[in-house]
């Protein structure tokens, strides 16, 4: 009948993780900052409505995890962060449990989801999991994501379908880019002119909607488009 919950004091993440909260109400940001204060797993380094502050902090390497509250333009914000900072870890925080919204955010690049119906300690667990390269979310959200993958499968999409706009030659260039080769070297390997390679690279960045070759390479690695070749870490 009456349940008293202890404050989550356990140290569940090995190192201090710097979290930035976006798309949030001032109350939630303030309350979360105070709840995490003095605790050694997570610290809230910033919060706000949009991503202007976040952008600079990500650029400076001052943020480990971006926490995005669901609702409104959440999926749009996730996509924006993911596109500008391909390496950023993004976790969704669901104040409204809308599965559609969550699946859209996962498609946009979110790595984890915490519901408002979970206790605060679950947020710490989820962020810890994402930092270890794992995804953590409720079984209900997992089911929604599975359904979405099935739908995509039915629609005839393959895991590399996102790269289908690339021509065979562009895929070859991307593959060499992902292995860390410079344009000059790519030209030599494929037996084409340097300017042709530059054109291909330009088109690849354009089609993948990324701003630099490292992002394109990471994208190729993530979508398994390297045709069995191991990517050389950049």
């Amino acid at each position: 009948l009456i349940r008293l919950r202890p404050a989550p004091e356990e140290n569940l993440v090995a190192t201090l993780v710097r979290v930035f909260l976006v798309n949030s109400s001032p109350f939630f940001g303030d309350a979360l900052r105070q709840a995490l204060h003095g605790q050694e797993a997570l610290t809230l380094v910033g919060s706000g409505d949009g991503i202007d502050d976040l952008d600079a902090q990500l650029q400076a390497g001052a943020v480990d995890v971006v926490l995005v509250q669901t609702g409104g333009r959440a999926a749009e914000l996730v996509a924006q962060v993911r596109q500008q900072h391909p390496a950023a870890s993004i976790v969704m925080l669901g104040l409204e449990d809308d599965e559609e919204d969550i699946v859209r955010a996962v498609e946009a690049g979110a790595s984890g989801y915490v519901s408002e119906n979970a206790p605060l300690v679950e947020l710490v667990h989820t962020i810890g999991a994402v930092m270890r390269g794992e995804a953590r979310c409720s079984p209900r959200v997992t089911a929604a994501v599975f359904r979405r993958v099935w739908q995509l499968g039915q629609a005839g999409a393959s895991p590399s379908a996102d790269l289908s706009p690339l021509s065979t030659r562009e895929q070859e260039v991307l593959e060499l880019m992902a292995r860390g080769l410079a344009n000059k070297e790519i030209a030599r390997r494929l037996g084409i002119r340097l300017n042709t390679v530059k054109n291909h690279v330009h088109n690849i960045l354009d089609k993948l909607q990324v701003h630099h070759r490292r992002a394109a390479a990471r994208y190729a690695t993530a979508t398994g488009n390297l045709r069995g070749q191991a990517a050389v870490p950049s």
């Binding site: 009948l1 404050a7 109400s25 001032p26 109350f27």
Partner: protein
């Protein structure tokens, strides 16, 4: 020194944890219980001598508010919106107030209204 005794009713676990953390960190107030619904709230307010009840601003809220204030006229009932951006304070003797930003300070300030009551009581 008697602290202000706060009851949280029907709030999501995440919101309950955040509010409990916030309130329990203040020197002059404490969360005495988390309860799921109206029936439990009625029992807990009496049993634990709660001064304040915080609940979500839902469609059931006006009814719950009437029942609580009907039985416990000195109680303060604070109804918060989903993300806690704003809320409403219900009191038996005074009209409803809108609680606005900055929210954390305002919510704490609102809870402290209860203290004036038992401090002034003979």
């Amino acid at each position: 020194v008697r602290k202000i005794r706060v009851l949280l009713q029907g709030l999501s676990p995440m919101m309950s944890d955040l509010l409990a953390h916030l309130i329990n960190h203040q020197a002059d107030m404490e969360v005495v219980a988390l309860v799921p619904g109206r029936a439990e709230a009625l029992v807990a307010v009496k049993l634990l001598e709660a001064d304040v009840v915080i609940l979500p601003d839902s469609s059931e809220m006006p009814g719950t508010c009437d029942v609580l204030l009907g039985q416990f006229p000195d109680l303060l009932v604070l109804a918060l919106t989903q993300q806690g951006q704003s809320g409403f304070l219900y009191r038996r003797t005074i009209t409803t107030d809108m609680v606005t930003a900055p929210p954390v300070e305002n919510i704490l300030k609102t809870i402290r209204i209860a203290e004036d009551r038992f401090r002034l009581a003979p």
